[in-house]
Amino acid sequence: MGTVCEENAAALWDSGQSPREAFEGIVKKHMKDAYFIALGLVGNREDALELSQEAFYRAYKHFDQLNSKGKFFPWFYQILRNLCFSHLRKRRVRRDYQVRNSECGVRISDPESNPQSEIRDPQSDEIADHFDPEMIAERNESKDRIWRAISQLDEKHREVIVLRHFQNMSYDEMAKMLFCNRGTVTSRLFYARQRLKEILDHVKGGQEQ
């Protein structure tokens, strides 16, 4: 991952290639990182694929905005994270709307397909939040709990956990990606892990009762 943060745009755009060929090379080089970052942020395969592809599409359209000395991946990452966060906000707004409707007793799901869920439980809606546990390799109960706890972190804390634990980035690389200093990265990681610990303790406490 280290070199990814250092590669500048000019180095990626080989003069001997057509723009399409050059961009194809860039996409093939970074598609896995883009997909797994998006997956960590939004929690399910379909959205991660769609959002990572949309981010590449927008990067292609606006490639001229990246100057030749600019680093490609940190720039691309800004597009990707903004898309993911915007997607999560829209999802939250939709969910809040459904919760409000369910509180008013409005039927929001198909009662024929599932008679038990005629009126949804707002809390279970909040927990589910589209984070698919099938996205974890070699699942077990403990990993499921961590994944679920990550899904409950707020955006900027989830982001540092994803970059550190799933992308194995160093603090310096994270600082470059997030356009902030090392101190901010450290502090965000501290609060993210503390929050993660609180969520896990809360879940554990709930199970023991």
Partner: protein
């Protein structure tokens, strides 16, 4: 240094991001502060658990098809832009031709001609008004450079 300062160092210690001097200073603090030592143990446990979580690789066909799907999107995007620009240009051209024909046609009544001219005038005013409003707010929007 306070315990709070050491909390920031704790993360870097946990992730092996401290230099030797910082590491020694932090370990010296740990030896004298049981609260920080206890916190570190808890964070170590959490880190071990989190490090065990890995995201599942999708099937190979996802990577095989990735570029083709993206290329289709780029191609269609370009197609839509060309189509939209051409459609707008043709609509404007056709509109002017139509208006010209109506105005020059002696068979069309004066009232109908005034109606067509008023329609064009109204559209022009609306267009200029919206454009001016957008430019006015864009120039004064203090948050336009804020990255969301």
């Amino acid at each position: 240094m306070t315990c709070q300062d050491h909390k920031d160092l704790m993360m870097a210690y946990l992730d092996d991001e401290l230099d030797d001097e910082q590491k020694r200073a932090f370990e010296a603090h740990l030896a004298s502060c049981s609260d920080c030592a206890k916190d570190l143990e808890e964070f170590k446990k959490l880190k071990r658990m989190t490090d065990c979580v890995a995201l599942a690789e999708p099937e190979d066909r996802v990577w095989d098809e990735y570029w083709n799907r993206l290329y289709n999107r780029i191609e269609r995007g370009t197609g839509w832009i060309l189509f939209s620009v051409a459609a707008i240009a043709l609509l404007i051209y056709g509109g002017f031709e139509l208006v010209e024909t109506i105005i020059e046609d002696r068979a069309v009544g004066v009232l109908a001609k005034i109606g067509v001219l008023a329609l064009i005038g109204g559209l022009a005013i609306l267009f200029v008004s919206v454009l001016r409003e957008r430019l006015y707010f864009w120039g004064r929007d203090r948050y336009k450079d804020v990255r969301r």
